[in-house]
Amino acid sequence: MDRLVSRIVIVGGGTAGWLAACSIAARADLAASPPLQVILVESPDIPTIGVGEGTWPTMRGTLARIGIAEPDFLLACDASFKQGTRFDGWRTGAAEDRYHHPFTTPLEGQPRDVVAAWAEQARERSFADAVGPQPHACTLGLAPRQRIMPDYAGALNYGYHLDAGKLAALLAHHATERLGVRHLRDHVEGVERATNGDIVAIRTRASGTIEGDLFLDCTGQAALLIGEHCRVPLIDRTAQLFNDRALAVQVPVAPDSPIASQTIGTAHSAGWIWDIGLPTRRGIGCVYASDFLSDDEAAASLARYIRAAAPDCDPGALAFRRLAFRSAHRERFWQGNCLAIGQSAGFLEPLEASAIVLIELSLDALLDNFPVERGAMDLHARRFNALFRYRWDRIVEFLKLHYLLSQRQEPYWRAHRDPASVPERLNELLRIWRHQPPSRTDFDAADEVFPAASYQYVLYGMGFPPPRPGPIAGNPASVAAGLRQVEHRARSLAAALPTNRSYVDALAAEHPAGPAPAPTLTPAPARLETL
């Protein structure tokens, strides 16, 4: 007899584990028989590492579905708004070398017409500035919404910059207090397996065995279930993306300082530096390839950046945290009744903040195609694995694109342009894009992680030449009015939107119980009790 899937066991309590717990429990049918039970087992002494402090706009839908009000989230997670990424120095490294990859898609129209209209009528402006109002709002440090708007609605598309540790704490509180998730703090010491390889139960040190129908591996790099027990191998992607180190630091900011509206990714001689502005601190980190840069050189590069970007701050007084990683993902993410979500499934450098969105996409795929009984699980696993292999491939290609069009001459950058390091599909697309802009034809899967618009922003931001007029006529005039509207809308939004700083300060003033902005390196005391 086929067992109904009702007992979900989540192992690991970081961003992935708690997002999984909340998402699943929030969508459970309370009238189901048997009802869905969600238990999260978290090792009491393994600290979680924040996989990233930038989310995609998808996080708004995720939080809304989970049932957390936006102001509560913003305050509890020391969060601010993220409207995309600005890439500094990627093309040549010159002072004025920068472009935006905003979250808001370009104005309506055929990509061919939009790109041609920009090239012919608005070339004095950058592509991103010409086709949408968001870069202008970012330049002014504006929030994407006004506080009077309904939760999770914006005048411009947005995600968040947040403190990942606080997000996990908020989700844990919500999961256990509101959504009926059982939380167990215990060590997982082993796994009991069935003859078909399924996990029957996990063995814990103090709480005995915990049986389940579906096990989610959210144990991060340890990959306790999918790696150690299921032995699903990793597929190495370092041939394409060879960054393997990061130096991370938290830089305190003054209470009234502006908060950047986008992640800033600044290229250096052998990698890049992230800069993520939160209300109370900036998370800054140097990503580099150890084959091309020593740890000391990376630290010097990071210190140089901090001195320039935050002149009031003495880099010598800050603690740099060193992280080692490699770009890789599982050959399969779902095997038997074990599904890997988060870093256990794979990791790529955080150039486009793909970590948290992959968690959300994995949970969406699971819940939209829920394996009601064990017999259906292998089919779902096969579909899931095919979908996510496709997605990881596309993400690798999109990240690679950022390096490929650079004219920088350091050995690291030349190595990135070595044809042997470029995925074949990306090479083909670049050949096609000489004659036509990226369009939906190039990315035809439902829910592409990066749509054609993202490729357009990077391509034309990096100076890739727009297609010349060819034998097939376009109609750039059809978007001329749209181009003018973008300018007007940019002006209107610049007038109507508050700065990020005004927004979060007004929010905090309205909720005095929230954490006070504390310009220190120690994390502000969490508003929620840690569980």
């Binding site: 009077i148 209107s492 007038a495 508050p498 700083r501 300060d505």
Partner: protein
């Protein structure tokens, strides 16, 4: 009046205006001035009534929002439940400023004591970072211009109403569903019977001066009285 200032980019470059609605922002008002030129726009939402000024010299037209001082039945929290608002409401906290010289161009003034002056950085900017008017200020200036023009055309309208004696005192008996009976007094409305008796010459003259349409618009607007009473009943928890 000291808080009224001429609006300039130098003085008000970073100024932001709170454009939300709400009692705390000065919207808890029973009525607002309307000019004949906007009767057509506002008559779909509000009753238009006329009131003699205190010196009993001239009339003004008002759009009615409630039945007692401070009562705005269109206001629901932060929402103003109507598709349009009178210009005199929409242009707050700005005003038209004139110098002694009646032919000099009007200036945009601002009431710096208004609760709409924003100090939290969340309102709409008046000037952009380069000191140019924002689209918001451009729209305000357009409305101020329309209001100014309408205001200056109004005396001719009221003179015509007097010439033909077309205003009559108006008393409204309001029986509310809580059992109370209330009377709205102190207003005038268009005297419909007199209007009916006007001959073609008089109508032609009114029409030629552009007064006929606002007269009929004001008449038509009275059908909103029953809707306003219904709002009052809802506010009392009835109906």
């Amino acid at each position: 009046m000291t808080a009224h200032a001429i609006l300039t980019a130098e003085e008000h470059g970073d100024l932001r205006i709170r454009t939300a609605r709400g009692a705390a922002l000065g919207d808890a008002i029973m009525a607002a001035l309307v000019v004949p030129a906007e009767f057509r726009a506002v008559q779909g939402e509000y009753p238009i009534l006329f009131r003699l000024d205190q010196a009993r010299e001239g009339f003004t037209a008002l759009a009615l929002f409630g039945f007692e001082s401070g009562e705005n039945l269109f206001l629901r929290g932060q929402e103003w439940d109507a598709t349009c608002r009178p210009l005199s409401v929409d242009i707050q906290p700005f005003l038209i400023g004139r110098s002694e010289d009646p032919d000099a161009p009007a200036q945009v003034h601002i009431d710096m004591d208004s609760p709409r002056i924003d100090n939290a950085g969340e309102g709409i900017r008046v000037f952009d970072e380069h000191g140019r008017p924002t689209p918001y200020l451009e729209a305000i200036a357009e409305k101020l211009g329309a209001l100014d023009e309408g205001y200056r055309a109004a005396p001719a309208f009221f003179a015509a109403l007097r010439r033909y004696d077309l205003l009559e005192p108006f008393t409204l008996q309001v029986a509310l569903e809580d059992g109370s009976t209330n009377r709205l007094v102190g207003f005038h409305v268009i005297d419909e019977d007199k209007l009916r008796t006007l001959d073609g010459t008089a109508l032609g003259a009114l029409h030629a001066e552009g007064h006929l349409m606002p007269i009929f618009m004001a008449l038509a607007s009275l059908s909103n009285l029953s809707a306003l009473i219904a709002r009052k009943n809802r506010a009392l928890g009835h109906g």
